[in-house]
């Protein structure tokens, strides 16, 4: 290889340099800002994690697997996985191989940023060597890989169903500019390299293209303009990148180490929250996943649009989207970047101002405390029904009946009246008030001296487990408790042949607490377990969730019907769930019996 120009410079590299310095500068400032916005303890934790070998390895692995290979997307949809990883990994390899070429053939130019990118313009091939042709082959190979990804991307944009997406995001103007410039970069690169391939050398893609072009063009006059065009396309892409969804490329590389360090959203807009917003690639997987999307009018309220509005600062829409969400967590479950849609929305709700705030610190719970103290004791199970179970007394009857059958000594925490667990307040963004309720409830639990707290409502279960800090007390959902009793042989359940049961994973129990298998095992003892069309982490919210503040009763009905449709795909005889709220919601619309797991087990024991 020999250099064609002694100066090693041509004006066409200037647009590229402008774009590159702009985007690097912008990302550097943004990164410093995000880190500076973190609360002090979070910042310390994050920076310390960066020097620990365990985290360094974790970060490198996750960045490679998620940002370049898009492993999660592959698992979800192979076509989309290929499309994204071919572009991301292919481009990464082009840059790496470009640097390798410069280091190998013109090492004195390695300090010039543009050399690895425009290598083929600046060098002429003097002799063909094995490494040379191998590198050329790889360059062409990865370029072809990217081009195949671009073809898929174009198809996806105009006919998303072909690649397995029902709906895709509506792009903003800036996103379009970014998208079209991204599409333009690689065909232009192919053209530019093809025009100079007879000088610089090339491989299976560029040499034949060069030969074809020379048949009817016959001169090199087209080379420089295409290199200019390639450089300008790069500049346009890099200059609009910070204002488009492509900001997720640099943002995700910071998001992954922060998440690995255990940083959580502490401010609705700043620090980690803003990083999550910018990490959203706008792919729109959350639109199809969202249970609200059964109605077209709600499609604009998916997490991808929340992120867009948070970037734009449209307060009216932010409030609207934040308050509507059911907080079922499915968007987080399917998001390949792991943007926490519900947590982002809760942070917005917490920010709201109120003229009047409830206060519970002054509530006189002495009667409940003394009742718990007299009836409880070590070895006993304290059963908290919670608001929703008190509205569906059959669940309480079945639960206590099962406890009696298994010879478990129990005590009711809220026999006639009781307090709420605090989770509904938290879902409305009133965390401080929820803490007051939590303190009151904790007092009652401590006074009882019981070592197990049994819940028949997943909404209560989640908050008791995560927020109550009850050391020495086992917090357990009734479905898990009964499964253990069955497994230990303390509870005999008659198996009914031919009784088809489908388990509905309540959002708070499944995605919220990761409990999927125990209820299924318990149900399998009573009948034949069939699966819904969407189950486990992809289960569909019943539509009755307290998470949504603004969805009216009527607006929820299509969601309930859709959830029921998916649940009954395998034609079960009964729908079984472990949440009194899901039960009450389904009962209204279902065409077959909807039961709580305790009722099903109690009937057959």
């Amino acid at each position: 290889m020999r250099e064609r120009f002694a100066s090693g410079f041509d004006p066409f590299v200037i647009p590229f340099l402008i774009g590159m310095f702009f985007v690097l500068g912008y990302c550097l400032v943004a990164m410093v800002r995000v880190i500076a916005q973190l609360p002090k303890d979070d910042r310390k934790r994050f920076l310390l994690s960066l020097i620990k070998p365990k985290y360094i390895w974790m970060n490198l692995r996750d960045i490679f697997l998620n940002c370049l290979i898009h492993v999660k997307l592959w698992q979800r949809n192979k076509v989309l996985g290929y499309m994204h990883s071919s572009i991301a990994f292919g481009w990464f390899m082009l840059i790496v191989l470009g640097h390798l070429e410069v280091m190998l053939f013109v090492p004195e130019r390695i300090h010039l940023f543009y050399y690895p990118i425009f290598f083929n313009y600046f060098v002429a091939e003097t002799e063909s060597t094995v490494q040379g042709s191998l590198l050329m082959f790889l360059m062409d190979f990865f370029l072809l890989m990217i081009l195949s990804g671009i073809v898929l991307a174009v198809i996806k944009r105009f006919a998303s169903r072909i690649v397995g997406m029902r709906r895709t995001t509506r792009l903003s103007l800036m996103d379009r500019v970014g998208l079209y410039s991204l599409w333009a970069i690689f065909p232009l690169r192919l053209l530019a390299e093809s025009f100079t391939a007879h000088i610089s050398g090339g491989s299976f893609l560029t040499i034949p293209a060069n030969w074809i072009f020379r048949q009817f063009l016959g001169n090199d006059l087209n080379a420089l303009p295409t290199w200019w065009a390639y450089s300008i396309a790069l500049m346009v892409f890099m200059c609009v990148l910070p204002f488009t969804r492509y900001m997720h490329i640099p943002a995700e590389m910071l998001l992954i180490p922060m998440r690995n360090a255990g940083i959580k959203i502490r401010h609705p807009r700043k620090g980690f929250a803003s990083l999550e917003v910018y990490s959203c690639p706008g792919c729109g997987v959350c639109i199809d996943a969202c249970p609200m999307s059964v109605q077209k009018v709600n499609c604009k309220d998916a997490t991808v649009y929340l992120n867009r509005q948070l970037r734009r600062g449209d307060e009216r829409r932010i409030a609207e989207i934040s308050d509507k969400c059911l907080l079922c967590g499915k968007c987080s479950a399917v998001c390949q970047v792991g943007v926490q849609g519900p947590e982002l929305r809760l942070a917005q709700r917490e920010r709201r101002k109120y003229a009047l705030s409830p206060a519970f610190a002054g509530l006189d719970t002495a009667a409940l405390v003394s009742a718990a103290a007299s009836g409880g004791g070590p070895g006993k199970v304290l059963y908290f029904q919670g608001c929703m179970t008190r509205l569906t007394p059959s669940i309480r009857r079945a639960t206590t009946s099962l406890l009696d059958k298994a010879d478990v000594r129990w005590q009711l925490m809220d026999p006639d009246e009781g307090l709420c667990c605090g989770r509904p307040l938290m879902m409305a963004g009133r965390t401080e008030q929820a803490r007051e309720l939590i303190a009151k409830n904790r007092e009652i639990i401590r006074a009882s001296g019981c070592d197990t707290l049994l819940l028949s409502c997943p909404i209560c279960y989640r908050v008791f487990r995560d927020e109550y800090a009850l050391e020495g007390v086992r917090v357990v959902h009734h479905s898990v408790f009964f499964q253990e009793l069955i497994a230990a042989g303390k509870l005999q359940v008659r198996h009914e042949e031919g009784l088809r049961l489908v388990w509905h994973d309540p959002c708070e129990l499944g995605r919220g607490c990761g409990i999927y298998e125990q209820p299924r095992q318990a149900l399998a003892a009573a009948g034949e377990l069939v699966e819904a069309d969407r189950h486990h982490a992809e289960s569909i919210c019943c539509g009755g969730s307290l998470g949504s503040l603004t969805l009216s009763f009527g607006q929820r009905v299509p969601m309930v019907r859709n959830a029921l449709d998916k649940l009954t795909a395998a034609a079960p005889d009964q729908i079984v769930t472990g949440c009194p709220l899901c039960l009450a919601t389904f009962v209204r619309e279902a065409d077959r019996p909807v039961r709580d797991i305790a009722e099903v087990l109690d009937e057959r024991s």
């Binding site: 409830p358 509205l391 409305a428």
Partner: protein, 112 residues
């Protein structure tokens, strides 16, 4: 003349002097409030009721009667558990109604 009963002036509600700004603002923001038939299902199920006498029905009535102190006392006991919205025969989104009401100041303006 003695009718055998008398009105106690201290608790008589004079509807002409009632300041209904908060109720009017609520109706503007949550028109659902108008569909309440006062059946009392919400009162019967309310988790906060045993502690404070809270009831969405009484809150709406109190607002129209100018019983502001009583309304505020009830509202500040609500735990937002959502049972009232589940039992409401008119499908009123009572939880959102309460939250909206809490956002209104004495003049019926949304606090920002």
């Amino acid at each position: 003349m003695d009718f055998g009963f008398q009105l106690s002036p201290s608790s008589a509600v004079n509807l002409d002097t009632v300041d209904r700004r908060r109720y009017d603002a609520l109706v503007q923001l949550e028109p659902d409030a108008l569909t309440c038939i006062g059946c009392g299902s919400c009162s019967a199920t309310c988790t906060a009721s045993p502690w404070s006498g809270m009831s969405v029905r009484k809150v709406l009535l109190g607002l129209q009667r100018g019983r502001d102190g009583e309304v505020d006392r009830m509202l500040s006991a609500c735990m937002l558990c959502g049972k009232c919205s589940m039992v409401c025969p008119r499908g009123i989104n009572t939880r959102q109604l309460i939250l909206t009401l809490c956002r209104l100041d004495k003049n019926g303006e949304v606090v920002r």
